[in-house]
Structure formats: structure tokens, C-alpha cells
Assembly symmetry: C2
Homo-oligomer: 96 residues x 2
Amino acid sequence: MIRHTVVFTLKHEAGSSKERDFLEAARQLATIATVEKFEQLRQVSPKCDYTFGFSMEFADQAAYDFYNDHPLHRDFVENRWMKEVSAFQEIDYLPL
Amino acid sequence: MIRHTVVFTLKHEAGSSKERDFLEAARQLATIATVEKFEQLRQVSPKCDYTFGFSMEFADQAAYDFYNDHPLHRDFVENRWMKEVSAFQEIDYLPL
């Protein structure tokens, strides 16, 4: 299992329709066949500056690669993520 | 549900007995009554500099506070975490 996470901040105002639209569009990523346990999260630690998070799991590296290369993911990164996210950090985990 | 995560790097050499001992000691945190789904993880994204992660869940803020204030946690932070961790980032999540 590989858990892919990203914690991020949007350029949009908190609670705005643009914020809601971005998050709704991102839910399309969950329809990619190899994506498991897709979650949209709110980051709430005062010790961390980011405001949202996504988390998903893949069975193995091939499943992760399938997601990365999928047209839905590529389109989302190019047309939404790169335009609407102001800062982010990817963190990927394997069970220890 | 509150998911408490921390991604971190140890001062110890990778694969060392000191590294193993730190991780083993941290598993005591899972015995605190309000801790759910305790996980020890290896951070593997080349886009992230940290090497390990812990993740755990709490039913609510009271359960999280119970953990934070618990002697086992306080002792671990003071005697292990502050001495053996070189860098870390806490990230806490609520379901969106």
C-alpha cells in the first residue's frame, strides 16, 4: 500500500464558490480506477499553515503510476491545481 | 474524527539501532486509551525531505486532549522526541 497525500492552500477566499468548485472538481480524481480511500480533508493544526488536504491509497507503484499518468489527473493538475493552489506539500507513506 | 499526523526526520543514522529504538519506544503512544488507528510510516515522496511519519485518530477534541496531556505522551515528547528528532511538521485533519 502507498498512501499519497498532499496538504495545500488555495488562492481562493475561504468559503467562496471558487473554493467549493475546486474541491468538487477534485472529487473526479476518485473515479480513476486505481484510487482507493480518496479523502478530502480540512487541515486544522495551528502549527501548520496549509488549509486543506487530499489523501488516497494505491495498491502498489503501478497503480500510483496509472493515476499519475491518467488524463483526468493530468488535466486536473494543468487546468486547476497549477492555477488555483498557492502552496502545497506532497507526503507519501508506506507502512513501516 | 480528528486525524493527527506528524512527518519527521531523526538525528539517527538510517537503519541504526538508535532509529529502531526510537520507533519502538513511540509504539507506546498507541497504548494511550483514546488513540485509534496508530500507524508508523515511512515517507517516500522524493518531493518531501522528511523520512518517517506517525498517524493516529481521535474521536473528538477531548480524546485528543487526553492524549496530549497523558504522562506517556509528555514523557515521550520530553525525553525522546525533543532529543532525537531533527525536523518535523504536524498536520491535523478533519473530514471535509
